[in-house]
């Protein structure tokens, strides 16, 4: 059987599909058949290139030619020129916007630089249950470099120079944190890895632990050397059985080869790691709460100072970093701080991993340099909004973050710019919402989460968030007043101002940011009792169009509360006082006579 010479890759992603990629594909097949090229070329549908703005995309292998904005009319030309004559169709080539020149080989396209994988460098490449694969990709070289060539202070300086900031949400400079912990004297210190990823809709840390557990172990050892600790603890959610398994395997293998334990790499440095399990409490992502939980207590935060660097686990100096932060560390030593700090922006260095989810085509795990805009992430990597719907908002930072809108799409992703925009980096959840999402309901959803996850220690979070949720609930049920909106604002501000821990202080952010950005929607809910997204069912009114209804009685027979009346063969009516807005009638009607008003 002859080998296929050319593969014609057509994007079958939703975005390109909307711009007729299916037509293009069948056109290609047609032309190939017509010209008898079936043994030379083959059309292959692919997933989204994440480049939908330039779609539909057609890529030709083996020469990596990347054609953009291809139309069915272009197909014949591509076949004739490229497949038959071997000449590229220049006018369809991707144009580098910066240099304004055509790029022939897509490997040189800027587009592939949108994502740089540092923390995720090994995820999806190596077998996480085989330490040798990690070693083959420079694994544990950073450790050997630090142990063999650097003093703890020098290593801390390197981390400081790299500009790495905590990836768990707060963005505190990691090197500085290590330096604090290194300065306190104690007979025992601890390195703690925060793997209690509780942000709903975020799974970066889990992916790193499942895909590259050794990178975290190696980083913890480096940190231990820097701050003078010989013990490491990983606080991980019990809900992550696979990550726990892979970590256990990794720890076992590292011990077996002597990369954990006594006298590591013959340098006299001792370090070992143990696991501690979380038990389902979001608040334990806060470092003081996490420490209390590791000590076997209720995971309640305590007032800082004292910081863990001074008095942490078992009252000993402890350094807490999250998984993604640690995963960056080996690279910083392997490539140098000066390499690392060239990535990103002035105040936010390196990359950030996001769990891209929601109403977006390419749900997934992405890693982009700091400073990438939300637009690039959503439209170029995420492939745009699912089902061709209209973008409405993107939520970052989970329950501590906020909803950003159209006007924020060109905001570069950095710790400080996101805060300025009313959200925050958070741990890396990024949820995209479309016109079908009601922003009041979204705020309510997050508050419900906060209410459920509040530890209950401080008044503003324990009672304040409950009241916020109640007010939001009232609004979504159609009973809100303008006064309620004032209360929402004041209460949110007070909670932000007075709550005990970082989580409490940021818990009103989903409310404040939606009030800021979607004020009209709130006002609509309370004044005209309308939910434009059609989510708040109690505000909906199901009505039967008498012009369309033929009186088949199907709706009346299916209504669970007998709210529909009418003679057979004449238009029916819905009694709004009885209707529970379940929507069954609308589903059942075969004539589309029932609509929501």
């Amino acid at each position: 059987m002859a080998k296929i010479k050319y593969h014609i890759l057509c994007c079958g992603g939703t975005g390109c599909h909307a711009s007729k990629s299916d037509v293009i594909m069948s056109r290609f097949n047609e032309v190939i058949n017509e010209k008898g090229l079936t043994s030379d070329a083959k059309v292959v549908a692919t997933g989204c290139f994440g480049f939908c703005e330039q779609g539909p995309i057609v890529k030709i292998l083996p020469d990596n030619t990347f054609y953009t904005r291809v139309t069915p009319e272009d197909v014949e030309e591509i076949i004739n020129e490229h497949i038959i004559k071997g000449r590229k169709v220049t006018r369809l080539l991707y144009t580098d916007p910066a240099k304004n020149e055509h790029i022939e080989d897509s490997k040189h396209m800027n587009f592939y630089k949108k994502q740089i994988r540092i923390a995720l460098r090994n995820c999806g490449f190596i077998d996480p249950e085989n330490i040798n694969e990690y070693i083959a990709r420079e694994g544990y070289e950073a450790l050997s470099k630090v142990l063999g060539e650097m003093t703890p202070q020098q290593a801390i300086e390197e981390v400081k120079l790299s500009g790495l900031r905590g990836r768990g949400g707060g963005g505190f400079p990691t090197g500085l944190k290590w330096e604090f912990a290194s300065k306190y004297q104690a007979d025992q210190k601890y390195v703690v890895c925060n793997a209690d990823e509780g942000d709903p809709g975020a799974f970066m840390d889990r992916s790193i632990l499942e895909g590259d557990p050794h990178s975290v172990l190696e980083a913890m050892e480096i940190c231990g050397y820097c701050i003078g600790a010989t013990k490491g603890l990983i606080y991980i959610r019990a809900e992550y059985p696979l990550a726990i398994h892979r970590l256990k395997v990794a720890i076992k293998q590292a011990r077996e080869v002597g990369l954990l334990g006594k006298d590591i790499l013959g340098t006299g440095f001792d370090f070992d790691v143990e696991l501690r399990y979380g038990a389902g409490a979001f608040v334990c992502g806060e470092e003081t709460a996490l420490i209390h939980s590791m000590e076997g207590h209720r995971g309640e935060p305590t007032v800082k100072p004292p910081f863990p660097a001074e008095s942490g686990y078992l009252k000993k100096p402890s350094n807490v970093n999250n998984v993604e932060t640690f995963a960056n560390i080996p690279v910083i030593f392997n490539k140098g701080a000066n390499w690392f700090n060239k990535i990103g922006t002035e105040r936010s260095k390196g990359t950030k991993v996001f769990a891209l989810a929601g109403k977006i085509n390419n749900v997934g795990l992405i890693e982009v340099p700091m400073g990438t805009t939300l637009r690039e992430v959503i439209y170029e990597i995420g492939g745009g909004i699912k089902g061709g719907k209209k973008f409405k908002a993107v939520q970052t930072g989970g329950p501590s973050g906020g909803c950003l809108t159209e006007k924020h799409l060109d905001v570069p992703i950095e710790y400080d710019t996101l805060i300025a925009a009313g959200s925050m980096m958070g741990s890396g959840g990024m949820i995209v919402m479309d016109e079908d999402n009601c922003m009041v309901s979204v705020a309510k959803f997050y508050l419900e989460f906060t209410v459920e996850e509040s530890c209950g220690k401080c008044t503003p979070c324990r009672i304040g968030n409950k009241r916020l949720h109640e007010i939001l609930d009232k609004i979504t049920k159609g009973h809100g007043t303008m006064e309620d909106l004032d209360k929402l604002k004041n209460l949110s501000q007070v909670i932000k101002d007075t709550a005990l821990c970082g989580l409490g202080q940021t818990s009103p952010n989903p409310v404040l940011s939606t009030i800021d950005n979607f004020w009209d929607e709130y006002v609509e809910h309370v004044t005209v009792k309308k939910c434009r997204a059609g989510v708040c069912t109690s505000m909906l009114k199901f009505v039967i169009d008498p012009e369309v209804c033929i009186g088949c009685t199907l709706c009346a027979r299916n209504c669970p509360v007998n709210a529909i009346t009418g003679e057979r063969k004449s238009p029916h009516q819905i009694n709004q006082d009885i209707c529970i807005k379940c929507g069954t009638c609308k589903e059942k009607c075969k004539f589309g006579a029932i609509s929501i008003k």
Binding site: V44, D127, E138
Partner: protein, 131 residues
Amino acid sequence: MAKIKSLADLKNLRDNMKSGIDLRERGDHPDALPQVKVGMATSGIASGAKEIMNFMIDELDKRGIPAVVTQTGDMGYCYAEPTIEVKLPGQDPVVFGYVNQAKADEIIEKYIKNGELVDGILPVNFRSVNE
């Protein structure tokens, strides 16, 4: 496993490994074999990656195709799981998404055997720092 006692040990091991990740057991020229990696993070497994991995191992064996099948972590394309990456000798790796048994069968028959691509390719849209 042998202890790694020094930096030199570590470098030796790395160099040995680098020539073919985890393929040492398979003979002298692992690069000459097709390599299949299955994304086996929680979400991958949840969408059936384990079954696909077993299928690939069994079928390649049955059909007498020498190849190496390993697991790996999250490739990032959560929307298209299960995902597998196939690297044919001397070629760039190709990632396939939405892999079910029929697709896996097609991949073996068409791509692994004949180098003929099949629908469901996921374009790689990132660079890794290790590359």
